[in-house]
Structure formats: structure tokens, C-alpha cells
Symmetry: C2
Subunit: 275 residues, 2 copies
Amino acid sequence: MKFLNKNYIIGIDIGGSKIIAALVKGARVFHKIKIPMPKNKKDFFSKLEKIIGELIKKAGGKQNIRGIGCGIGGALDLEKGIILSWSNVKFLDGLNIKNWLKKEFNREVKIDNDSKCFTRGEYLFGVGKDYKNVVGITLGTGVGGGIIINGKMIYGANGSAGEIGHMIINNGKDLEEATVKQMRKSKFSKMAAKEFEKNLGIGLANIINILDPEAIIIGGGAAKTTGAFILKARKISKKFIVFPQAEKNVKILNGKLGENAGTIGAAALFYSQNI
Amino acid sequence: MKFLNKNYIIGIDIGGSKIIAALVKGARVFHKIKIPMPKNKKDFFSKLEKIIGELIKKAGGKQNIRGIGCGIGGALDLEKGIILSWSNVKFLDGLNIKNWLKKEFNREVKIDNDSKCFTRGEYLFGVGKDYKNVVGITLGTGVGGGIIINGKMIYGANGSAGEIGHMIINNGKDLEEATVKQMRKSKFSKMAAKEFEKNLGIGLANIINILDPEAIIIGGGAAKTTGAFILKARKISKKFIVFPQAEKNVKILNGKLGENAGTIGAAALFYSQNI
């Protein structure tokens, strides 16, 4: 029993509007804690300290925690563990979150982009299990992405590959601005919904034309409220996809791990180096 | 001597407006023949037969030809060797070019997308030699692309990855339409040049945000006449790139193999399976 306990990983998903943290084993999530994203740095530290402390207690002590896996939005220096810049949560810019977590809790820490964690979670344990080439898209405060090719997460030369939400699709606006952000600004008007569908459709088509994945997996906090639009977006995407077989074969899927995908995928940083 | 001769490969680059064919050994090109793209299928067959026949003669006979590597635009079924659809050269739709070449010349035949051949050529022997992660962009009759990640060409689930020219960037228009096509339509007006720069800049930024490559290599028939705009496009791209280190580190390079890149990259299909 003690041996099994030791394999707990603390998975943390730090998004633009909330933090989810839990004890994780594979795809199983225990003692999940969910709090709104704090509004300043001081609050961020004290809240994070409190919820991680609580999880360690639930696990029966630090000795049962293998490590802390943490998914975070924004531009990260993955090697050093620094949040370089995050337009949705500016007060964390420059923070070395990896060092802070290590020092506070004396466990091994691994960090990654939050949308990559979502994609990894769904790829390993969710709706992406049967594929080797998938793109994950998170619709949340912003829009993020993760690209898996031949079973490997693509990080790029500077760790920033997958920033799908910042692809410009119309009139200088990026996919993030043209979908979730304009939707919130317009207070979910009908016209905004139509724009959302069209723009998400273009985003899907662009991804398919560039990467030709087996499947695109959609998730994130806004995916629930916008789920109905995804079918329409897929329809719209068809006319922009140039390769008939790619259009026919690609699967557009809703993630099945729900809000746990991010914590599961963050914890999974400890299971596999490649993914 | 005879042994060396045997290693000739016939490299063919079939683009929207011209065909280039040559005897190729590595990065060396012998007896290059260049003709305008024929206007119908009958002419296409007879011209191709003639120039390949000429190259075989120059090589001293079929026994000195290891194989035929052929780069072609449009959507291809790489396994079967069929041109599925090609908006710029409609009369070839449905042709099994691989079988035709095999039957005509009794040599092994390998085919690939023309922009992937360009990218492979520059990656193996040109300006991409020192990198492992590059994206090639061809500006020609259309706009094509090739994506190399960790030294491997990305084909996607249906062989269509890399269709960068069909990424929608503004008002339903794709990168191809918004750069080379509008430029030709407007007869190279100053305003069209400004649009070209802006739209290419957006295309570069999108590629960098999605793939974070070490280098982007630009080539193709229109790259010569538009070379001056590429510097400006790069400047414009900066404001759309979200990750500061990617913006700083990425190299935007002109190909150095000139119009030979496509034939060299098509012939290189015989040197390496992965690339």
C-alpha cells in the first residue's frame, strides 16, 4: 500500500481564470481542489501554498508524493521554469515558478504549457488514445494548442510551438481574439456566435492544411458553453480544406477528461519524456 | 567510372508554370532542361517523354540511371502516385504519374509534393544544412510549403501536411491568394506589393507561432522578383509573433540552390527515406 501511495503526483493546472490541483495517478484524480485565479502575486503564492499543502496532507505526507507537474498559460522558459510573459495574467511575468515550487515543497517539479498538458492528458488517457498525430485546442480565457506528431509533443526551437490561438486569421485578429474573446466582449450575442463558428472553422481548416492530423481534440473551460458551435465550425472548415482525403478523414473530437485533462496531462510529465 | 555514372538520378520539378528536369548527383545538377508547362495532357506526355529521353541519352543509357524522382504541385496520393487535384494545372487531375513514368522508362520512380522537394533540397544541401527544424515556403504560381521537424519531413495522416499556402489569413483569402496571386492580378502595383509584404509577414508569424522552427527558407519562381519584400515581411511579422525568443531567434533565409532546389530535392528521395 505504501508503495502505491508513493506514486501520487500533484497535478496543477494554472489557467487564465482558475487553478485546479489534485493528486493524480495515471488518469485517476483524487482530492481535486479548484479555486478562482488569484488577482495578485501575493495571493497567488499563499493560495497555491495552501492547496498544495492540503493535497500533501491528503496523500499522507511528502514521502508519498513523487513530484509536482504544473501546466501554465503564457510564454514559458521550460528549461529554467520561468513564466516569460502571459497576457492574461500579467502579475506572474518573470516568476520562476519551478524554483518556487521546488523550494516550497522539496519535490521534483516539471512544468509545461497548460494547453500542451490538456493535449497530453487526452492523448494518453482520453479521446486521443487511439491516434499518433493529434492537435489539441483549448478554448478558455484564451485559445491554446498542443501538437503531437508521431507520438511526440512538438516544442519547436524555443519551446513555443503550438501557439494556435495566436494564428492571425482575419483583419489582423488572431484565433483567440476572433473566437473566445469577441464572444465574451459581445456577451454571447447571436452574431458573435456566428462569428465564433466561422472563425473556429477557419482555424480548424488552417490546422488541417498545415498539419494534416488524424484528430483535433477540443477542450478548455469555454468548450462546454461553445460545444454546440463546434459541429457548425467543422462544417464551415470543409470549404477551406484543400486536400479532400484530409477533409474526409480528420476527426474533430471533444475531449473526454473534462476539466481534469490539464491536471492529468501535467502529472503525466512524470511518466514519459517524449510526450 | 561506370559505377559513378550509375548513380545518376533524374530529378524532375513539375511546377505550375514550368518543368525543370536534370541528371542529379547529390547537390550537383547536370544537363538541366527547362520548358514551359504544357497546356494539355497530350503535350505534357510528349514533352516529358522527350526531355527524359534526352537525359537518359546524356547519362549514357538507362543502365546509368538509378531512378526518377519527381516533385509535383497539387494534392497527391503519394502511395499510389496519383495527382488527385491541382488547381493550377487541372488537366493532370487523376493522372497516375508514377505508373506512367515507370512504364515509359522502366526505372524506379518516387514522387513528392514540389514544395517538399524544394524544402528537402535546401535542407540537405542548401541554406538549411545546419538546422534540424525548418519550414520551406515556395512562392511560385501558388504558395507551397514543407515542414521538417527533428530532421523528418512531416507528411501528416493523409500526406497533405505543409499546405501553408492554403492557410486563411484574411477575409477568407488564403496566403497564396493574398500574396503571389493578387500580385499577378494587379500587375505588380505598388499597393499590391504593400499587401504582399503584410500578408507574407502574417504568414511567417503564423508559421512561427504554430511551429517555432529554427529557420524558414523561402524559394520558388516568384521569390526572385519578390526578394526585396521579404525583409519587410519579416519586419511586419515581428508584431504578430507571441513568443519573444522565437521572434528573436528564428532565421528567415533565401534558398541558395536557386531553381535547382526542386530537382535536387526530388532526386534526394532516393538518398533518404525519412527526409
